[in-house]
Symmetry: C2
Subunit: 489 residues, 2 copies
């Protein structure tokens, strides 16, 4: 085929993959849920090659599918099973740390750099790149930017969006936008950078970025608290915010069902407090300087919370090992849930003040559909981002006749509860192909119209990652089913 | 006229201004530099009225000029002197604090709220709205959002953009986008909010916003330092960043010419350190909790800076009065410069690490044009935002034959020096009508093309604030002259 031949001429034979066995890791997502053929995959080594590839695709009217580490949780990075087969542009070979400026606290990188590599390069320069998430060992910064990745550092440092100062993007016409500014202030026209961040490869391909670095924290203290419920957790959060300012770096809410699943399923985990019943909070303070000051603050806030009757128990990690053990309970959640059964995970966020109401209302709504079904709750309470999970044992799930229907009803009940509190159905994972139905259901027509106008302005031929982010007209209001989803991070 | 009659029917007679004396404050900017007639001004009381006004304007093909506090420094908020006379939509009557949620740390406001009113309402709820700038007593939040206003809090809290969670916008077709989310995380499609922020009323009219609030700082410490030059100031900045993390809330660089002008022109000001010669730094730390901890940090960093020979003198304010006195020297800069002569101010930003090179290269370039002309430097060094000001006594200025030409040459030399270091010609003031020539000169064609595509997509009839932000094709590369500009903040 002429297009593939042109790619070979441009990039060399080794950078153009066409055989099924070579494409396998690129045409299927890592959880094995989405799989569809691609025309081929190309592995450009630099921005000019990406631009040349795009121009060839446009010339041949072939869809373009940008791919980073292929760690999407919503089918954003693998081929669609309808329409023309796309060319996958994988940025794996573009993994240069271009430069680090510790005085400006910035780093310029290729989009194919793995997140962990960036974290390590920052640390080697005595700085912190603060975005941290489960997939950091394989996800790429270009994908993080395309999806505005969240993770555990958001409370203190914001999302990926808040840690990007500049971008280099190959546009749908094959031209290159060099927006690699390393500036804290720049009021010169429309902010194109923020438009590309979170656009999931539908407006262009991010090929490079200038990232913001922070001082490397040198002191950390972690505590595990027992609280009666989300209301009390919220009041404790308020105490920490008032006393700790930006030293509060994590505030995670976990219910007893979730803790119990971890204890049962993952060997070696133990509950840091005496009683598993009730609700749990993992709180972390971090700072530059020595640990003494934040340890004192932690102690003072916990004493106050005890006095006020907001917590019934609280353990401060007294060693690095204890600190890690507490985080391990939190980080074992996905593994435990996968082993224990089927969790119908959601990725909602509501205003922080509405978290207790959301949990109560979502629970009531789910229990109308399936009375008494256990509810697992784990989330970044400090951001209002709760993963609310109706949970089934494998046996209970298999015994249910109308699984897909129940899953759809529950997802809708949970997302409706969030929407009623002016929340969102996708806090940190994006839309991909899984949630375009929810876009149609929850977004106002005027907002969809504006988004479509942007898409049309940037990609008039519609070749960039078609079928993602924006619902097609006919999808009107039928959210897709993704019954065995187990996303919680 | 039918349109004005329709406005009267819609809003009532008192909300439609047509007489020249009623329009005077709206058709001329506060510095008296721009003045042109409007068709009329309307004063809607709510969002629905704004939308109805816009629909009438579109129907009649009349340009729309949104206006907040009319404090623009670059002619962004007053009528243009060419094209059809616009309808000024002034949001003065829309000044409700709609709600405050101290638990979610958010506040929803009408766009016509004055910035100071918002700061006060936040403080009354025990919270901080951190954007602070010279015009805060009269500028409106809608204008702050439309221009992504900066100010003195940027180092710690970011620009206006970083403190807005949601927006309500009346679009150029008269429909309303309700994007009043109060969420920290929301990855559901293109980020329209960031597109409107900084678009200077060319894509829609902001009518409401959800703002982010922060803990109210309860401890502050301020010091005035004497340094040999910008290089040493930069090293001191690094020491503070490493030890103080986000407690560093201001780091201002001022040269001796600037300090001398303040001492000469403004009664009651005195230099906090013994020697006026050399360079000066004003540094502020702030935090929740008591002052003791940050006072200790300040002391430790200053001792280290002395040991390293980075500062030759340093005075820590020992009372609230001394703290205020130090800030007064900084805040007297505009008044002093206005009294003393003509300053050709710039609003550049470069990477923080490039500030010393920028000052050296801009000085050399300006001295090629006018050997020995005094250079005044004052700026937010922590953000890389330097106001670099070739300064003339009134006598010297009047004696110069080719003033406009010299002013143009100097502005270009300064902006070129910033551009060579990958900096920007407008860090915090925006473009308005004054800097559209610079847009044409410094922005890559591909970036202008994307911006035009956005404008076309949102405002196809081109009626929203025409002539602002985007250069018209013929302006090619002739930056406008604004010879007696004295902007420094």
């Amino acid at each position: 085929m002429a297009l593939i031949e042109a790619f070979r001429q441009l990039l060399g034979d080794g950078a153009v993959l066409t055989r099924e066995e070579d494409l396998a890791g690129l045409t299927e997502d890592w959880r094995g849920r989405y799989r569809a053929p691609a025309l081929c995959a190309v592995l450009p080594s630099n921005t000019a090659q990406v631009a040349a590839v795009v121009r060839l695709c446009v010339e041949h009217g072939v869809p373009v599918l940008p791919q980073g580490g292929n760690t999407s949780l919503c089918g954003g990075a693998t081929p669609a099973d309808q329409g023309k087969r796309p060319v996958i542009i994988a940025l794996t070979r573009m993994r240069r740390i271009r430069s680090i400026d510790p005085v400006n606290n910035t780093m310029e990188v290729d989009a194919g750099c793995v997140l962990a590599t960036i974290q390590e390069a920052a640390a080697a320069a005595g700085r912190l790149y603060p975005v941290s998430l489960g997939a950091e060992g394989s996800c790429q910064i270009g994908g993080n930017i395309a999806t505005n990745a969240g993770g555990t550092g958001v409370l203190r440092y914001g999302n990926t969006r808040d840690n990007v100062l500049g971008l280099e993007v190959v546009l749908p016409d094959g031209s290159i936008w060099d927006g690699l500014y390393a500036l804290r202030k720049n009021n010169t026209g429309y902010d194109l950078k923020h438009l590309f961040i979170g656009s999931e490869g539908t407006l262009g391909i991010v090929t490079g970025a200038v990232l913001k670095l922070h001082p490397l924290p040198t002191a950390e203290t972690v505590a595990w608290l027992a609280v009666d419920g989300p209301e009390q957790a919220l009041e404790v959060l308020g105490l920490f915010q008032a006393s700790c300012n930006s030293r509060l770096s994590a505030f995670e809410l976990i219910n007893s069902n979730q803790v119990r699943l971890v204890l049962e399923q993952v060997p070696g985990r133990r509950c840091p407090v005496a009683r598993v019943d009730g609700w749990h909070v993992l709180v972390e303070l971090s700072d530059t300087g020595d640990t003494q000051a934040i340890a004192g603050t932690m102690q003072a806030v916990l004493e106050r919370a005890l006095e006020l009757g907001l917590i019934s128990d609280g353990v401060v990690a007294s060693s690095e090992a204890q600190r890690k053990a507490m985080w391990l309970v939190r980080h074992s959640v996905s593994e435990a849930n996968k082993k224990a059964g089927v969790g119908l995970t959601s990725d909602t966020a509501v205003p922080v003040s509405a978290v207790p109401a959301f949990i109560a209302q979502a629970t009531a709504a789910v229990h109308v559909i399936a009375p008494g079904v256990p509810i697992v709750v784990v989330g970044h309470m400090g951001d209002g981002n709760i993963h609310f999970i109706p949970f089934f044992s494998f046996a209970a799930w298999e015994a249910m006749a109308n699984r897909a229907e129940v899953a759809d009803q529950m997802r809708r009940a949970i997302d409706d509860a969030a929407a009623a509190l002016r929340g969102t159905f996708s806090a940190e994972h994006g839309i991909g192909r899984t949630l375009t139905g929810e876009m149609a259901r929850y977004k106002a027509p005027v907002e969809l119209r504006l988004m479509r106008a942007v898409k049309q302005a940037f990609d008039p031929s519609g070749l960039f990652n078609p079928g993602r982010v924006l619902p097609v007209a006919r999808e009107a209001s039928s959210p897709s089913s993704d019954a065995t989803d187990t996303r919680e991070s």
